[in-house]
Symmetry: C2
Subunit: 435 residues, 2 copies
């Protein structure tokens, strides 16, 4: 229990949105923070490569020399909010080398260099807080480290990119095209000018890397994650999914099995009866299945000035009162990542076909020959886009769970049928029940 009453002195690197939020939350909530931390938490130094902006730093020093901040004598902890990769990495390393704990929201650095940073932190006996790096204001790291600590985590499935969720929600709700929804997201500040990083799933993969490391005690295996974005999701597929009782969400899924761990990021059909199907707009949610707690879900804002600041300040409070955890306390074994072709999933297949009798039967036979069973189908689907495709009738199928390699083979066989007149769309289906 904290008896020290001297302030925890914070140095912040960066002065973007989240950094300004941290300054603001530490100032506006200083009373409750001091009560909970047992001592004041004070920003003593701020460094940003940009010239000093119009931000009230509440008396903290300011410098454009970011590299000297980690060794500044007036800071006890470095908060790294500069973003990017190389400079951020070297700042975090410098602080750890100087024996100072670090709090960071930098998911890219953690996903790519998390193991070496945790080893360094561990060696130096200081903590490396990263609550803000995953799902913004949602305390999902804290849930894994504290509330669920007695569980073997069996799987995790999360909506962890607000840009993707905004776009898919706008498409499903308003019938906007992907392009229109993306343009709206950019106009509203939910997507970057170059949105590739978000919509192609890289950002979600960074977060899933960190979540998986904490959940399963494994290394950060970013490069081994199977990553798909949402740019291929169409209104047609959202419509057929709806007819079948599903919604399409962009999920990060990590699942432990005897063979290893599946880690993948992709659009997924989830049952509309599941809570995750109702997480809309820019909101995030993470579903964690523990072997004791069962399913628990954590929902909230995945980004933004104050939500992300809330997470940074939570790490600072744990530091100030001595309840921050040592890095990688649950590091266990080297767990293999299962290649995507060995993954077992149900699949949604949309097969553009010419309207001849017997096509469905022929498709069903081919699937059956590849040991794929059909769970549900729309045999006489109305073509949702009919423009130049008046004689095309899509066959829409949801398979039972099957090893992906078989789906790949079966899809190739079906694609070769003369009646199949366009490229087959395949999207994974997950009932979020552990299979």
């Amino acid at each position: 229990m904290p008896t020290v009453s001297s302030p925890l002195r914070v140095g912040i690197c960066g002065l973007g949105t989240v950094a300004r939020g941290v300054v603001r939350v530490l100032r506006e909530n200083s009373e409750i923070i001091q009560l909970r931390a047992g001592r004041p938490i004070v920003v003593t130094e701020v460094a940003s490569r940009r010239a000093r902006p119009e931000v009230d730093l509440a008396g903290a020093g300011f410098s454009t020399d970011v590299t000297s901040l980690p060794n500044h004598p007036e800071i006890d902890v470095l908060v790294e909010l500069i973003g990017g990769e190389d400079t951020a990495l070297s700042l975090i390393e410098s602080a750890l080398m100087a024996g100072k704990p670090v709090v960071t929201a930098n998911k890219a650095v953690l996903a790519r260099h998390g193991d070496e940073l945790q080893q360094l932190a561990s060696k130096q006996g200081v903590s490396l807080g990263c609550e803000a790096a995953v799902a913004g204001g949602i305390p999902v790291i804290s849930a894994l480290e504290h509330g669920l600590a007695g569980n073997e985590v069996e799987w995790v499935a999360g909506i962890i990119n607000g840009t993707c969720n905004y776009i898919l929600t706008a498409m499903a709700r308003s019938g906007q095209s992907f392009e229109t929804a993306l343009a709206d997201a950019q106009r509203l500040g939910y997507a970057e000018a170059d949105p590739t990083f978000d919509i192609e799933g890289v950002d979600a993969a960074h977060k899933l890397t960190i979540l998986s490391s904490l959940a399963f005690g494994m290394d950060h295996r970013f490069s081994e994650i199977h990553v798909e974005g949402i740019s291929g999701v169409t209104l047609e597929d959202l419509g057929y999914a709806g007819q079948l009782g599903y919604r399409i969400k962009h999920l990060g899924i990590a699942r432990r099995s005897a063979a290893g761990v599946e880690i993948r990021v992709h659009p997924t059909l989830v049952p509309e009866t599941h809570l995750l199907a109702h997480v809309d707009g820019v909101m995030n949610a993470v579903l964690i299945h523990g072997n004791a707690a069962g399913d628990t879900l954590y929902y909230g804002a995945g980004a933004g000035e104050l939500p992300s600041a809330s997470a940074v300040v939570a790490d600072l409070i744990d530091l100030a009162r001595g309840t921050a955890l040592p890095p990688a306390a649950n590091r266990a074994v080297d767990i293999p990542v299962i290649p995507i072709q060995q993954n077992v999933s149900a699949h949604y297949l949309r097969i553009p076909s010419s309207d001849r009798p017997g096509v469905f039967a022929r498709v069903a036979t081919l699937l059956s020959e590849h040991e794929i069973s059909i769970e549900a189908a729309i045999q006489r689907a109305q073509a949702i886009h009919t423009e130049s495709e008046e004689h095309w009738v899509p066959i829409v199928i949801v398979t039972q769970p099957v090893i992906e390699g078989k789906v790949t083979e079966a899809v190739a066989a079906v694609q070769a049928l003369p009646e199949v007149v366009g490229e087959i769309v395949r999207i994974r289906v997950d009932d979020l029940d552990g299979h």
Copy 2:
């Protein structure tokens, strides 16, 4: 960071469902628990007033003398899972007096004696863990103490009684009557033989007392909570609520304002677009609005052997590694509880009236005279139950938010109209947006 490697020795009082779950989780997950806690956690003693049941105690001692357990030399922490009030209270007190930390799932004892127990724990310099007392396996206490620690919590709204949620879900989904749904819940083990405690809201009020204390740093004010159960909720009201875009959930709501804090437990119409409206069956969920994180929601199993055990074990791990918080670290000020008649809520009103022209206008005029505005209405509602009421037409209204005292006066005035032929039903409406 933990350097001690000697086991944390646990004494468990009680051998009911949750206690058996704790024994099982500590045994089955011992490897991951030791990794996370930095030392083994071992049950050394179990005491239960009932004769020893057929439970594998994994080598722990067993006694039917519960009173000597707190002072047993072979235990470092008491886990109180005996239930009830008087004996449980004295066991917790004995352990704290002996300088031993306590983990308990006993919401009744905490709601009624939480302040004195926290004072005692604080004086003795030991912790009092209660993650399992609120919302079972959902780590909502951990969220308040860690992940949201930098926030002023502005309000909390939760589905925190699984029995009520099961019954309301069954009524809404299957059109079962309250009585049939309750009988089903009893058959399935979701409701006690005497279900009063759950369905009249007492259990939810216990949990809300504890949540409010943690969220707002206030005393445990159980006796001041406004409590209503679900026994008055009818299929008619579920039906009309649905037509208006709402679902009826039994909520515990606590909200901080300049004047004090509202704390109340009652059936509530919530918008069907809100995530909380989709928390069904026996599941629980707690929505917390912090001034930095915004809305975050925590969902999971609110009871059951393993979920509740997960919460108890989480507290034990925090104890074992030295990251358990001192009791009431955020205790601040004496906050007044706002009397229910001063509460501001929108209201759903169902007014059974005879089918004469002009009744709606007369009702609207009376409401207006009491400064109550109408947000939505079903003027020509189809009577859902028509049996002996063939000439009755309910007027169904949702008001704008208004101080409850005015609603009480207005309802009395409307009730006195000769055209009003039955008792007016009033249920609070909450858009869960802070107002």
